[in-house]
């Protein structure tokens, strides 16, 4: 069957046969870069439209259905509009940082694409500290947000950025602990090891109680990290501000907007990899017949299916819950989620040592 793995293998063989190793490597890098950028663009288009359609259906209406069949070109039209808007820079803003901030956020999103395994043997960089790399790089996005808030030279943008920053930094802890749970069970930080260890079943089912707790904590924490409702006070409720991206318009705003949706995709992809098995089909223990049937569905379809399922859940949250106040939000993290995550880590360590998991 034509799989992504075989395509990459044939391409690599052909390139190394035709050119010298250095040039082949360079060409491979260029191809990877182009694919990444294409993936970004396509994902952006798809996710924005998906959000609007999901929102509409939950709100008993139809959503965009005029631009293109079923509204599929809606995002393209929106992007075109944003590109043609005037990109205003406030007078006394710090021009360098102001222009740099959206790119920092985008860069972090792109860097995080590297360790994600989209299909079997289809990973850009299988680093041996994969999970640590993800945690570390995702923390860098806070810099972009604070830069945006500071460089706008607007007191209220700064306050919004500080609030956003505080929120992200707090919820990183819970997310990190949730991720650590899986690392403890697997014994390795490498993404391919983690996915391979789920060959006889996804961790969500194998590592019963502590992993289920960790999964729930992870979903809550990443909703807060990506500034989505019900934790979106920094951008939707203008208590004192209209958010850190108030002063941005035109293309730069489009970049922030896009980066938010890509971030959602990435955290859902990581969640799917760690908890739901990544590209690994649904295998149940040693039921070889069943497992063999499941293997017929290509691994990329499994991966995308799981990721989009988690994305749908996160979008569902947005249209169901009202917003939390800022003190309630931080309360939630520091007084409830953090102790639970610590306790959970202890629990999972005990379970891993005793071997009380499947």
């Amino acid at each position: 069957m034509l799989s992504l793995e075989s395509i990459t293998k044939t391409t690599q063989d052909w390139l190394f046969a035709k050119f010298s190793p250095e040039i082949a490597l360079t060409i491979e890098c260029v191809i990877v870069i182009l694919l990444c950028i294409t993936l970004f663009a396509v994902l952006g288009l798809v996710l924005v439209l998906l959000e609007r359609k999901v929102a509409a259906r939950i709100q008993i209406r139809l959503g965009p259905n005029r631009v293109g069949p079923g509204g599929i070109f809606q995002t393209a039209a929106d992007t075109l509009k944003l590109i043609m808007k005037e990109g205003l820079t406030p007078d006394s803003a710090d021009k360098f940082l102001f222009n740099l901030a959206p790119f920092v956020v985008m860069m972090v999103a792109m860097l995080l694409l590297a360790p994600i395994a989209f299909a079997k043997n289809f990973q850009i960089w299988d680093i041996n500290i994969g999970v640590l790399y993800i945690s570390a790089v995702s923390s860098l996005s806070v810099i972009g947000i604070l830069m945006a808030g500071w460089a706008s030279n607007n007191k209220y943008s700064l306050l919004g950025a500080m609030r956003s920053g505080a929120q992200i930094v707090s919820y990183e802890l819970s997310a990190g602990f949730a991720v650590l749970t899986i690392v403890v069970l697997t014994g390795s930080l490498r993404i391919s090891d983690i996915v391979a260890s789920q060959e006889n079943g996804w961790w969500l089912f194998k590592g019963h109680i502590p992993v289920v707790i960790a999964f729930v904590l992870y979903i809550i924490a990443v909703t807060a990290e990506t500034n989505r409702a019900p934790f979106d006070l920094a951008e939707a409720e203008s208590e004192l501000t209209a958010g850190f991206h108030t002063e941005y318009s035109g293309m730069r705003f489009a970049l922030f907007f896009l980066a938010e949706y890509i971030n959602i995709f990435i955290v859902c992809a990581i969640g799917a990899t760690l908890f739901l098995g990544g590209w690994m089909p649904l295998h149940i223990g040693h039921w070889d017949g069943f497992n063999h049937i499941m293997d017929y569905i290509p691994s990329s379809v499994w991966f995308m299916g799981k990721t989009f399922f988690l994305i749908f859940v996160i979008m569902w949250f947005r249209w169901t819950f009202p917003r939390l106040r800022v003190d309630q939000l931080l309360n939630l993290e520091w007084k409830y989620l953090l102790p639970i995550s610590l306790f959970n880590l202890l629990l999972v360590t005990v379970i891993a040592i005793m071997g009380w998991h499947f």
Partner: protein, 378 residues
């Protein structure tokens, strides 16, 4: 993603203790109307709220001194546009009282049904707007699904969807549409199925409860002193339903409960309105099958003249007690007319209940006060 637009004052304009003064409004997305609040903050805490009114002041009271007694009724539809039938009923009742006009039974019953439908429609819109203020966007659409049914009924019978000029002194302007009864029954049936959705989606939601419980507490003494009426006062334990105190139209022959809660916080105000919707359905159910046959309007002259004297009529709108006070010198136009609007007094309590709380709480309190600004500004 919505932002409430702010006109941010010059940041060097700090209060005497270095407090920050910000403006909220006058443009709000989809709620309230044009209300301009000047909020003095100390960090996150609110120290003082000052409402600046007048953005939609239309000098209605002065204008009505030139309008005849048949014309001024419909100006009240434009004041509190969500309770238009109820406001019109108040004016019509006053003229009927002043000129001793007989109102036929059919007109009384239909007027009561229309009043209750209007009350439900107003509360539906309020639920949607308040949930949106707090960040839950979906209840708005669910509420409007029910409200559409009511506006369809109104369109059939009265000809308009929002400012319905249908009630005249003496009864109704013309007879009800033949579909009226069937449509109202269908609406009642659908509403009863769907009201549980609101319960699940909004009332039972932990986040919603934690944002409204204990927020904006108003004691009973304060409610009376500030002149609050309607659900705002009933949530603090004050019994003030005009339909029970001074029944008019067909209210004396239907059974319904006056909903009173004692907590006085935003959540109590929310619960009072939800239960009031249920009580309104109860009233409609009792009346819809027994609309008496007969005339739909009493005998009146074309040009009405009130005798010399003073008249006052009170009704219960969706927001509280609405009063019409006319001083007449015996002519065809009122000499002085005063509309006692419920929002005016309810707004004065905002400063009192929001002092010392955070801005997020201000949104919850303001949402549950259910202000309609044209009612306040007149």
């Amino acid at each position: 993603m919505y932002n409430q637009t702010e006109i941010i004052k010059d940041t060097t304009d700090l209060g005497p203790d270095g407090e920050l003064v910000i403006n909220i409004g006058p443009q709000h997305p989809a709620t309230h109307g044009v209300l301009h609040l000047v909020v003095t903050l100390n960090g996150e805490t609110i120290k003082k709220i000052e409402p600046h009114l007048g953005y939609i002041h239309r000098s209605i009271e002065k204008m009505c001194e030139r309008l005849s007694y048949r014309q001024f009724i419909y100006v009240t539809s434009r004041m509190d546009y969500l309770s238009s039938h109820i406001n019109n009923t108040a004016c019509a009742l006053l003229i009927e009282k002043g000129m001793q006009i007989e109102v036929p039974e059919r007109a009384k019953v239909v007027r009561t049904i229309l009043n209750e439908l209007t009350r439900i429609a107003s509360h539906e819109l309020w639920i949607g707007a308040m949930a949106m203020d707090l960040g839950a966007f979906t209840p708005f659409f669910y509420a409007f699904r029910e409200r559409e049914l009511i506006t369809d009924i109104m369109e059939d019978t009265c000809g308009a969807r929002l400012t319905m000029n249908y009630i005249v002194p003496g009864g109704l302007m013309y007879d009800i549409h033949p579909n009226f009864q069937t449509k109202v029954k269908a609406f009642v049936k659908q509403f009863k199925e769907k009201v549980t959705e609101y319960e699940d989606l909004v009332t039972g939601n932990v986040i919603f409860q934690s944002r409204t419980k204990g927020v904006g507490v108003l004691t009973a003494e304060d409610a009376i002193s500030y002149g609050c009426t309607g659900p705002v006062a009933r949530a603090s334990g004050v019994s003030c339903d005009m339909r029970k105190i001074a029944p008019y139209d067909a209210y004396d022959r239907v059974e319904f409960d006056e909903v009173i809660e004692t907590a006085g916080d935003s959540f109590a105000r929310y619960i009072v309105r939800i239960k009031e919707m249920n009580q309104s359905i109860r009233i409609i159910e009792q009346l819809i099958d027994n609309i008496p046959e007969g005339e739909f309007v009493g005998k009146t002259k074309n040009v009405l003249k009130l005798n010399k004297g003073e008249f006052y009529q009170r009704v219960e709108t969706a927001r509280g007690e609405f009063g019409v006070y006319i001083v007449s010198e015996g002519g065809t136009t009122p000499y002085r007319i005063k509309f006692r609007s419920p929002g005016f007094s309810n707004l004065s309590v905002l400063d009192h209940i929001a002092k010392g709380s955070k801005i997020g709480d201000l949104m919850a309190s303001m949402g549950t006060l259910d202000l309609v600004i044209p009612d306040i500004d007149r």
